[in-house]
């Protein structure tokens, strides 16, 4: 009888035994968090004053200014806005074009990649989303590109196409060469290869899925809209290597928006 009581009690007390463990774990996590407390970038105001807005947007009112010679700690960045803390502990949002007039502790100017025309011409990453058609089927596609140089980029794109007869997926990997990256309206060519997955609709006689290797060549244009955003349109011709007697040629067009960072 006593044993059973002991068992029950021990079962009930189990959470209380675990509680200190959890508390210790939480404390250690907190300690780890405190230990890894960030060191913030310190910027010095060299212009007459630096305006601080109440929110990360041009319309938010300016309620604080930081005087020349004072410094701010940069807590984080959201789009073109930087949350900063003044020496007096006041927090606010500073605009990136105001912060480029500040300096680091050693007196060198604070440099930052602005989302402007210069950034459109020279950037490291870009991503985008497109709508279009592949061999008559509607497509939804997205891409990611990495700039090897201002002109040459490696691109990875994925698409889903939805047609009357079949659905499927495309994955492409290749190169893009932009001819005049500094032009607002800049043409480019693409070259690469990939895979095509075809899933015929169940109502057809041959509902067999298949995967084929492809190669593509394309031509397109980019049009700079503003900030980090641009339009991108492209025509691609895919050579699909099937296991039939002849290869298939499928055309794709796509148009959408992209952004760089």
């Amino acid at each position: 009888m006593e044993r059973s009581i002991t068992t029950t009690r021990s079962t009930r007390r189990w959470p209380t035994k675990v509680a200190p463990l959890i508390a210790a774990l939480l404390l250690s996590l907190l300690a780890a968090a405190a230990a890894s407390a960030r060191e913030y970038l310190q910027l010095f105001v060299v212009q007459p004053y630096l305006e601080l807005h109440t929110g990360p947007g041009r319309g938010y009112p300016v309620t604080q200014v930081v005087a020349r010679g004072e410094s701010v700690d940069v807590l984080m960045r959201r789009t073109e806005w930087f949350k900063v803390r003044t020496e007096h502990g006041v927090e606010g949002w500073a605009y990136e074009r105001d912060l480029v007039h500040t300096t680091l502790a050693d007196g060198t100017p604070f440099q930052i990649n602005l989302g402007d025309r210069a950034g459109f011409a020279a950037h490291r990453w870009e991503s985008g989303v497109f709508g279009g058609a592949y061999a008559g089927a509607s497509t939804i596609s997205a891409y990611q590109a990495f700039s090897l140089t201002d002109n040459l980029k490696i691109e990875l794109s994925g698409a889903q196409y939805l047609g009357n007869l079949s659905n499927g997926y495309l994955v492409d990997f290749g190169f893009a060469h932009v001819f005049m990256p500094n032009w607002r309206f800049s043409p480019f060519v693409t070259l690469g290869g990939g895979y095509e997955r075809v899933e015929p609709k169940a109502t057809l006689a041959e509902p067999l899925s298949s995967s084929n290797q492809t190669a593509y060549v394309g031509v397109g244009v980019r049009y700079y809209l503003g900030r980090r955003l641009f339009l991108r349109g492209e025509l691609r011709e895919h050579e699909v290597f099937t296991n039939q007697n002849s290869n298939e040629v499928k055309n794709e067009w796509k148009l959408g928006f992209a952004f760089f960072y």
Binding site: E39, L41, G55, G59, R78, I140, L162, R227, F257
Partner: protein, 235 residues
């Protein structure tokens, strides 16, 4: 006699000095001298090209000053829950995941993935005939959209609390898997975002998912209105 003693002493001194020189010659040269000798033998021109020996060699490494990086916080990740009115199949609960990337102060890109389960058409309810199987009734979709913060602003809770907010418009494309078919979908809508803190956002969204389908007989545009509450965290 004295001169003899002098000669003897002088010869002893001379012998002693030469003896020291002999001992010194046989003493082992230290390693540095030896190595420099070797170098001199192997590259006789190196002395001419070598920089002049520095007077002070300060053995102090230059400190590299590490500039702290700025934490970017442009990505929003979260969940939403609400009601989706699937045309002809009634309104049903919908739940989903959303991913936002804030491109600029004005624009953001959004990817969403949602799931719902369609109800019954009035025909099915009245006739007791099921048009769709259970699996086909599953309504799954994804959207890739571009959003525009049309009306950014602040909301005030009481006297002391102000939270940044934005009313935004959203439009994009995607795909809906429903009734055994997958359809190209166009979505558009509007939403409201409030940020109680810099890292947390609450959303209210209304969207229309439009696609062409022949599930109820003839092919037509299906409008599927969705109203959701969302919770996202900024990274």
């Amino acid at each position: 006699m004295e001169t003899r003693i002098c000669i003897l002493l002088l010869s002893f001194v001379a012998l002693e000095c030469s003896g020291c020189a002999i001992f010194h010659r046989h003493a082992k040269p230290d390693a540095d001298t030896q190595s420099s000798d070797t170098n001199a033998q192997t590259s006789p021109d190196s002395d001419a090209n070598a920089p002049p020996p520095s007077v002070i060699d300060p053995q102090v490494e230059r400190r590299t000053v590490k500039v702290p990086s700025i934490r970017p916080s442009n990505v929003e990740l979260g969940v939403y829950y609400g009601e989706l009115s699937i045309q002809d199949f009634g309104a049903q609960p919908v739940a989903g995941l959303r991913f936002d990337y804030h491109i600029s102060e004005d624009f953001f890109a959004e990817a969403t993935y949602g799931r719902a389960k369609a109800g019954f058409t009035s025909f099915e309810t009245l006739s007791n005939i099921q048009l769709l199987s259970d699996a086909e009734r599953r309504f799954t979709y994804y959207n890739l959209s571009l959003g525009y913060n049309l009306l950014p602003g602040e909301v005030f809770v009481g006297r002391n609390l102000a939270m940044t907010s934005a009313f935004y418009l959203l439009g994009g494309i995607g795909s809906v898997k429903f009734a055994g078919d997958q359809n190209f979908t166009v979505n558009f809508g509007a939403g409201f975002r409030v940020l109680p803190t810099d890292w947390l956002a609450l959303h209210i969204d209304v969207q229309d998912l439009v696609f062409r389908s022949d599930v109820t007989g003839e092919e037509e545009l299906k409008n599927n209105l969705q109203a959701t509450f969302g919770l996202t965290v900024f990274f």
